[in-house]
């Protein structure tokens, strides 16, 4: 006979197959299956929705990335091409066009044949109304904004003089994808082909021209291509990405991702809770086998290897069908989503497959291994004496592995440190509170002088205080998750929707002269148009920090762009409606700065800033920091000065107002009355944000199905673990003459009491976590929903309604003699 190392893989596999067949591993397998399916489905789905959202966001840039500079970007274009990026170049500058006797200041944009790389333009060429087109004007032609055509008094087919050349106006430019910053575009748009620029003679070395390089790629690793380009760029240049091009859109995008991430995380964490319970049960059941193997001479290492290998196999056994279920589910979700919202979702990447596998391994090894690894310490004496058992895993090990796994799993999903920490803290606090309160209530029950069936029903709960408390805590966690995702989700999305109400301003008006402020307000009021307030706006450049000239070279990327560009300063002693002072005093005698802007430039309260305004210095200290709701569509400013600093300076005013659908004609009336005004219609951006909210809400609802499934697995694990003991106890009672009805009644009492406890705890936790999430993670106002208590109690009762008949039937189905023998 030949002795080698024992084949632990074979032994692990033998046990695994039989334990799957006889149902011992079913709760663990199902928990893993749900976790992997949820993560993979959400992964695939988010990947695709994310792709679709990015594609839409890219339309605001007309590209996947955009670099702007006062200097030509030839070198950068070559760098982008070398990285296999598609490129397009454009020039913008203000100029005057002439049509007959009329002249008009326009914002000229010269584009090449590749423009736009993303999105489309809307033009009216006089034939079919407004049509969508995927390229700019050909050489020799010009597309002009309707407002400019009205001002010039020309029609289609007529010519205009642009510098030294004449171009034919072949279409009215209704819409362009990359509108840019509304405040920087003061004049109506003229779009021409870049080949005509030379003939205009307008661009010389000294011209104030803004050059832009647009880049795009259809490659899977587009993000990395852009990262590489960004690294190669000079520090004074910034590569703008779609998600940062529109603050309102970016906020909506972030919130949508967080909602989805949170939904998936909750499903996975519930599966984790089920795994912890199921693994503890599996540990108890496996101790006899482990003890026997030890008695037969297996070393602790061999036992450890057998159970580790078995877990690894279990992970694979769950991951493969889990990934398949995830893939099929996301197909259904994507199909529903595409039909409902009329969008084409791009194909998903393969990353979610890897994530599904990783989740199976992390969940199993984090939640189940600490319990199972203790089997290797099962005393062999257990084969003779059942009181000898494996030591309980060290609390530190259980806690450490669990927290580590949870942190990793949340990070996989949300990629958000703050969210990870909040969920961890919320979860930890909830579990501790659940356990403490549940144990306290169970102790009270023990002292309650119940009689008859009620006493037996409550006795089980009271007998094993910590087992019952753990069971209640796990179930409360499950119900909390379900409440959070059903009720609190609606609250959060409701608050978000309220923040961008249907009557949010959708038109900005700039270039308002001081003497037009009062007439404009009267005109708007006379036409039933409510404005968001008129604010002075003064152009300025930042020149000194704390008395020293600004060293712009120390700023990189976005900070450099912000520091060097023209500031739009405002002044006033009233805080704009949606602003909140978070530090310092407003208005005081200095500047009030938006908090994140100050952080980007490294400014803090007390720093002395000097701006050049019309050639003269305006200096003061920063006296307050504010938060601003950029998605409110009201005029907002990074820097607001105390009135005495700027009120003597010539300013133009800005406002925004809401114009209902169908009142577009009012804009023409307004311009007729105030010809120097410039209007910007932002209703399209608002529409996109609202669509995003609707999508996020819908997607979370789908993901919610996995949470419910995970909750059911927790239920299965919690009651599966005690089923054998319950069947035995019921058999003893029946031998002593208890009827099936009595056993059912006792069960009803036990589960109703447990369900109500669970509901109560879950409602409280959902309320707390919901408020924490809304204020700290989603930046929304806090609001407690009193209905949660009712929903929690209803969920607890439902728990009893679901479990009692099922478990009762199983407990009374087996003949007492057979149950006792087994």
């Amino acid at each position: 006979m030949t002795a080698t190392r024992p084949n632990t893989w074979r032994l692990a596999w033998q046990g695994l197959i039989r334990e799957v067949q006889n149902g011992l591993l079913t709760p663990m397998l199902l928990a893993l299956l749900v976790a992997v399916s949820a993560v993979t489905a959400v992964g695939f789905f988010v990947d695709r929705v994310d792709g679709a959202m990015r594609a839409q966001a890219a339309e605001f840039l007309a590209a996947d990335g955009r670099v702007e500079s006062p200097d030509p970007l030839g070198e950068q274009t070559e760098q982008a091409r070398a990285l296999d990026l598609t490129t397009s170049q454009q020039l913008t500058f203000p100029t005057v066009v002439v049509a007959g006797e009329q002249t008009l200041l326009v914002g000229l944009k010269a584009v090449d044949d590749a423009y736009p790389l993303r999105g489309t333009l809307g033009i009216d060429n006089g034939q079919h109304g407004t049509s969508t087109i995927a390229h700019g004007p050909p050489p020799g032609e010009a597309w002009l904004a309707r407002r400019a055509m009205l001002s010039l008094g020309i029609g289609l087919g007529e010519t205009i003089e642009v510098g030294q050349t004449r171009l034919t106006v072949s279409a009215i430019l209704e819409r362009e994808p990359d509108v840019g910053n509304v405040f920087s575009q003061a004049a109506p748009r003229l779009m021409i082909h870049v080949d005509d620029i030379e003939a205009t003679g307008l661009v010389t070395e000294t011209s104030r021209v803004e050059h832009a390089l647009l880049v795009a790629s259809d490659a899977e690793d587009r993000g990395r291509q852009l990262d590489r380009l960004e690294k190669q760029l000079d520090s004074s240049l910034n590569l703008e990405r779609p998600e940062s091009s529109q603050p309102a859109f970016q906020i909506a995008f972030d919130r949508a991702s967080r909602f989805l991430g949170l939904a998936a995380v909750v499903a996975v964490l519930l599966a984790g809770a089920a795994l912890v319970i199921a693994a503890r049960h599996y540990n108890r059941v496996q101790q006899d086998a482990a003890a026997l193997m030890r008695a037969l001479g297996a070393s602790s290492q061999v036992i450890g290897r057998i159970y580790r290998s078995r877990l690894l196999m279990l992970a694979l056994l769950a991951a493969i069908p889990g990934i398949a279920i995830g893939a099929v589910t996301q197909l259904l979700l994507a199909d529903l989503m595409a039909t409902m919202l009329d969008v084409d979702l791009p194909a998903p990447g393969l990353a979610p497959v890897g994530m599904g596998l990783a989740v199976a391994l992390v969940a199993l090894f984090g939640f189940a291994l600490p319990s199972l690894i203790q089997l290797k310490h099962t005393p062999p004496l257990r084969v003779l004496n059942h009181l000898a058992s494996a030591p309980s895993p060290a609390s530190a090990l259980l806690f450490g592995a669990g927290v580590g796994a949870i942190a990793l799993l949340i990070w996989f999903q949300a990629r958000d440190t703050r969210l990870t920490l909040y969920v961890l803290a919320g979860l930890g606090a909830s579990v501790i509170v659940f356990l403490a309160v549940a144990a306290g209530l169970v102790t009270l029950l023990r002292r309650w002088p119940a009689r008859g069936v009620a006493r037996f029903g409550l006795a089980r709960m009271a007998r094993a205080r910590w087992v019952s408390a753990t069971q209640i805590a796990a179930l409360a966690l499950g119900v909390t998750a379900v409440l959070l995702l059903s009720v609190v989700r609606n609250d959060l999305i409701g608050a978000w929707e309220r923040q961008i109400p249907t009557d949010a301003p959708n038109v900005f008006a700039i270039n308002i002269q001081p003497d037009e402020v009062e007439p404009l307000q009267s005109f708007l009021a006379a036409n039933d148009v409510e404005n968001a307030g008129l604010y002075p706006m003064i152009r300025a450049r930042w020149s000194e920090l704390n008395g020293n000239p600004v060293d712009f070279d120390q700023y990189e990327g976005r900070a450099h762009n912000l520091a060097t560009r023209e500031f739009n300063l405002s002044y006033g002693d009233a805080l704009p409606g949606d602003n909140k002072v978070v530090k310092g005093e407003f208005p005081a005698n200095g500047f009030s700065v938006e908090r994140e802007f100050a952080e980007t430039l490294g400014w803090s309260i007390g720093d002395a800033l000097t701006f050049r305004v019309n050639g003269r210095p305006v200096a003061a200290e920063i006296t307050s920091l504010r938060t601003v709701e950029w998605d409110s569509m009201r005029p907002n400013f990074f820097v607001i000065a105390a009135p005495q600093l700027l009120e003597d300076t010539a300013a133009q005013y800005v406002t925004s107002f809401y114009l209902e659908e169908g009142r577009e004609g009012f804009q023409v009336e307004l311009l007729r009355e105030f010809p120097t005004l410039t209007l910007f219609d932002v209703s399209r951006i608002l529409e996109e944000v609202r669509t995003l909210i609707a999508r996020a809400s819908q997607a979370v609802e789908y993901v919610f199905a996995f949470t419910v499934a995970a909750g059911l697995v927790v239920l299965l694990a919690a009651f599966g673990a005690s089923e054998r003991q319950r069947i035995h106890d019921a058999a003893v009672l029946r031998v002593m003459g208890a009827s099936r009805g009595m056993i059912f009644r006792a069960l009803w009492i036990e589960f109703l009491a447990m369900g109500l406890l669970v509901g109560l705890l879950a409602a409280g936790a959902a309320m707390g976590v919901g408020m924490l999430l809304s204020t700290q993670v989603f930046d929304l106002p806090a609001a407690a929903n009193p209905w949660l208590l009712l929903w929690g109690l209803a969920a607890g009762t439902l728990l009893a309604v679901l479990v009692t008949p099922l478990l009762g039937r199983r407990m009374t189905r087996v003949a007492p003699a057979k149950a006792l023998r087994s």
Partner: protein, 249 residues
């Protein structure tokens, strides 16, 4: 009485315990085995008799290396058990010890063949399955290889356990109330088989029982009474009386 005879005090004992004491905290200190000393020689069949709770099973656990004594010395086939850690004792058990338990101790998830092959697999033996088949054939279960424990009767399960105990050719076999879970007739059948196998494999047997008829089949015995061990001589007359079904210790 078995035909196997002790080889006498001149032979080296396969198992020797010297002033072994086992005390547990429950929570007051409780001495279960008190200063026990005995020697068992190769080929012997030795009975440990005594009433329930006397400490028989605890003594068996100490002798087999399943537990460590509070004090005293235990030597199994030349190896001092108290000097070894648990894994060291496991290695000794793997090579030299076989077990038969009152409650059979078969693994529910494994079939008869896999249960019997288990000790060989754990010892890394390559021909485990062939030898397990032979062992099952030897106990008359050659046709029930793929049956799961729950598909077998109590007597059949104990025969599988016997096959598992002998398959590794152990130097010493510990049997703890092997008929405790069986009816009288089945119990007798299993005991006949146990003694036949022991003779065929020349295995030393330590049998824990409180059935005098069963103890009488051994060469000699020890009485365990309140943790103290004394010599006990089996009564051949007990062999004539019907065996009882003990309830175990």
């Amino acid at each position: 009485m078995s035909s196997s005879k002790p080889l006498g005090n001149q032979a080296r004992p396969v198992l020797s315990i010297d002033r072994v004491t086992q005390t547990v905290r429950t929570p007051e200190p409780l001495t279960i085995v008190h200063e026990a000393s005995l020697q068992i020689f190769p080929g012997e069949a030795v009975a440990l008799v005594g009433p329930s709770g006397a400490g028989k099973s605890t003594l068996l656990a100490l002798m087999a290396g399943l537990d460590t004594p509070t004090s005293g010395h235990i030597e199994l086939d030349g190896t001092s058990l108290e000097t070894l850690d648990e894994d060291g004792r496991a290695a000794v058990r793997a090579g030299k010890v076989g077990f038969v338990f009152q409650s059979f101790q078969l693994i529910d998830g494994l079939n008869a063949l896999e249960n019997v092959a288990l000790p060989l697999e754990l010892a890394g033996q390559r021909d485990a399955e062939r030898r397990a088949r032979e062992a099952l054939a030897e106990v008359g279960l050659g046709e029930r290889l793929r049956h799961m424990p729950r598909q077998l009767s109590g007597g059949e399960q104990q025969r599988v356990a016997l096959a598992r105990a002998f398959v590794g050719e152990p130097a010493i076999l510990f049997a703890d109330e092997p008929t405790g879970s069986l009816d009288t007739a089945t119990g007798e059948h299993v005991i006949d088989l146990l003694f036949r196998l022991r003779e065929r494999h020349h295995t030393t047997l330590v049998l824990v029982t409180h059935d005098p008829a069963l103890a009488a089949r051994c060469d000699r015995g020890f009485q365990v009474q309140a943790g103290r061990v004394s010599d006990w001589q089996p009564d051949p007359a007990a062999l004539q009386s019907p065996a009882t079904t003990p309830s175990g210790t």
